[in-house]
């Protein structure tokens, strides 16, 4: 299994997506930066409501409206800033250059059309013409996701397929316009474990074939270990730790990452009771001045309550936002702006 990892294709700098509500400003994404190389898989991990999905939707400029707005930041896709584009130009990006696989295959397909029809529809949005060619492309797309007898399956309706099959069709639709980047938002959460494994293997195979870059949103560290090259751990709207999968698993440096990894059950240890993180994440419209994890962190000091830590470099390409790292390692120069 060799994959070629190429140049940086997508770069996100200091992204802020806020909701403006009656309760105040909800900082769903609050200064997230990351980059993605061609052929690479980046995992975004974190608990519910930490801003994973909002980050993904911000990349496509599809934040819920009215209410949410991308306030600040840069999203550079192959050097072009997506935040400068008009809505019409964005439509050319969606599906064609950045595509997305959603969580629930049961409702991701239109119940009144055959799947062939829906594959063709996806192509039509981006002006692929010629009816005969379209059908062939639809069949080809199904073949790519290993659907058996695609010539017959194109005439099936979604309700005639199983959940795993539907999710593969959704994948085929997402990949039919040959995008550079696919955002997979917990695509396997609603599938059972064996189908999950199959689906993940399939995604990897397609990635090897096409050199696709994947942003994989999940809360399952098992999937991260299997799928991803690099991981970004998010907490309360911020990326608290970023690094390669190996580094994150071997030297988790942020207490939140450590806590997350401790709460994964392990085969080789017998634990009577699984570790769980005490308390709740802070309210996103009433964030503390200092580190957002301070109230739940076992190592909290006075400084943690008042000042947000900058990013410290742990190893090459491995950063974490925690004051504990200051003494041990030198300050990472390109630090993120403080809130």
């Amino acid at each position: 299994m060799t994959r070629h990892i190429g140049d940086v294709i997508l770069e996100v700098e200091d992204l802020h997506t806020y909701f403006f509500t009656r309760l105040g400003v909800v900082k769903a994404v609050d200064g997230v930066s990351f980059s993605l190389r061609q052929g690479e898989t980046l995992g975004i991990v974190g608990e519910s409501g930490c801003g994973k999905t909002m980050t993904a939707l911000s990349l496509l400029r599809l934040v819920p409206r009215p209410g949410a707005r991308i306030v600040q930041g840069k999203i550079l896709l192959q050097g072009e800033n997506l935040l400068d584009k008009s809505e019409n130009e964005m439509r050319q990006v969606r599906g064609r250059r950045i595509s997305m696989i959603l969580q629930d295959p049961q409702t991701s397909l239109n119940p009144v059309f055959t799947i062939g029809n829906q594959l063709i529809e996806a192509l039509k949005i981006h002006h692929y013409s010629h009816a005969r060619e379209l059908v062939q492309r639809a069949i080809g797309a199904l073949k790519q996701v290993r659907v058996a007898a695609p010539e017959r399956r194109v005439d099936d309706y979604p309700h005639q397929m199983s959940g795993g099959m539907k999710q593969r069709v959704v994948g085929a639709i997402a990949m039919s316009c040959e995008p550079h980047v696919i955002i997979a938002d917990e695509p396997t959460t609603s599938l059972d474990v064996t189908i999950q494994a199959q689906y993940l293997r399939l995604l990897r195979e397609i990635q090897e074939e096409t050199g696709l870059s994947i942003i994989f949103i999940t809360h399952d560290f098992g999937i991260v270990a299997k799928m991803c090259d690099r991981v970004m751990v998010m907490y309360a709207g911020r990326a608290v730790e970023t690094g390669s999968v190996r580094d994150i698993f071997n030297h988790p440096s942020h207490p939140y990452t450590q806590a997350l990894l401790d709460s994964v059950p392990k085969l080789e240890e017998r634990t009577a009771r699984l570790y769980s993180i005490e308390g709740q994440p802070p309210l996103l419209w009433n964030l503390p001045a200092g580190c957002r994890f301070a109230s739940r962190c076992p190592y909290t000091e006075a400084r943690c309550e008042t000042e947000y830590p900058p990013s410290f470099s742990v190893l090459e390409g491995h950063t974490a936002d925690c004051w504990r790292l200051q003494g041990e390692w030198q300050t990472h120069q390109s630090s993120v702006s403080k809130t």
């Binding site: 964005m90 595509s99 239109n110 009144v112 639709i173």
Partner: protein, 299 residues
């Protein structure tokens, strides 16, 4: 060992089975379709060739003749004549044309406007939605007979006036129904997927949302056909509908009203025509709804 005793089927089973066939929704509603074709479509289109007599000119000498099977009836006027001696059968045949046109045009115009506004309202939400829904509330709150009379006073009784009044009354029902459906459908992931795939708002409304509400629209439209035919009748009854002496079923029912005790056939036959048409439309609508649902197609 019990022997199977061949049972005689009672005489009343056969007609009951036929009746069940008529009302069986999931099967092809052949009887209902046949009623529509023979009562509405063929007479509506070919009235000139089918009708045995002129529907407007009558002869006073032949007034109030009963149907052919009654005493004093004749085969020349199979369903009798009305109080000015016009053939009831011919008038029903010509009346089918009015009912057909009113229902088709009224439903298409109001359905088109209502569906478009309902889609926009449900999909965009917010202020557009609030505005359109207030219009719907106003429209549903209108005293419709009064509005009809105002229209007739302003524009004069004509076919277009009837269509206009029907549209004002009916579009709101489509708009409200479609909006309700859109509100639930647009939350499903395939709409989000369409947006992620770069589909425009227009495309999402007409290629993703509309096909999902078509079933409801068809059922609503077929139910409305009955309403439209009856409504047109009420308008005609008030003199605000199709101007006399054009034969319209509602008008015929209205005209026979004062003679209902002595010459029942004048209102009864057009009444039966209205009832059969409306019932058949409802049965066909039910069948269409089931047939159009892809989940039930191969069962």
């Amino acid at each position: 060992m019990a022997m199977a005793i061949p049972q005689r089927v009672p005489w009343y089973i056969a007609p009951l089975r036929l009746l069940r066939g008529i009302f069986q929704v999931r099967q092809f509603p052949g009887v209902a379709m046949a009623i529509l074709v023979f009562l509405l479509v063929i007479p509506g289109i070919f009235a000139e060739w089918i009708a045995p007599h002129d529907p407007i000119k009558g002869s006073l000498a032949l007034r109030l003749k009963p149907p052919m099977w009654e005493k004093g009836g004749s085969i020349t006027y199979p369903l009798g004549t009305d109080k000015v001696g016009r053939d009831v059968l011919s008038r029903i045949i010509y009346g089918a044309r009015v009912s057909l046109r009113v229902s088709i045009e009224g439903i298409i115009v109001s359905g088109f406007i209502g569906t478009a506004l309902g889609l926009i309202s449900g999909y965009f939400g917010g202020r557009v939605d609030a505005l359109i829904m207030r219009l719907v509330d106003i429209s549903l709150g209108l005293p419709i007979i009064l509005v009809a009379l105002v229209f007739v006073a302003a524009l004069g009784p004509s076919f277009s006036t009837v269509i206009a009044v029907i549209t004002i009354l009916l579009w709101a029902r489509y708009a409200r129904q479609v909006r309700g459906e859109v509100l639930s459908i647009k939350e499903r992931d395939f709409i989000a997927r369409a947006r992620v795939a770069g589909a425009s708002h227009f495309r999402i409304m007409f290629r993703y949302l509309l096909p999902n509400v078509v079933n409801t629209l068809i059922v609503l439209a077929t139910l409305q056909v009955g309403f439209v035919i009856i409504f047109e009748s009420s308008l005609s009854f008030l003199g605000a509908g199709i101007p006399r002496p054009t034969p319209a079923w509602g008008l015929m029912v209205a005209d026979g009203r004062e003679l209902i005790v002595t010459a029942w056939w004048i209102s009864m036959f057009p009444g039966i025509a209205i009832m059969l048409t409306v019932l058949s439309f409802n049965l066909v609508g039910d069948w269409l709804r089931d047939h159009l649902d892809p989940k039930l197609k191969n069962i």
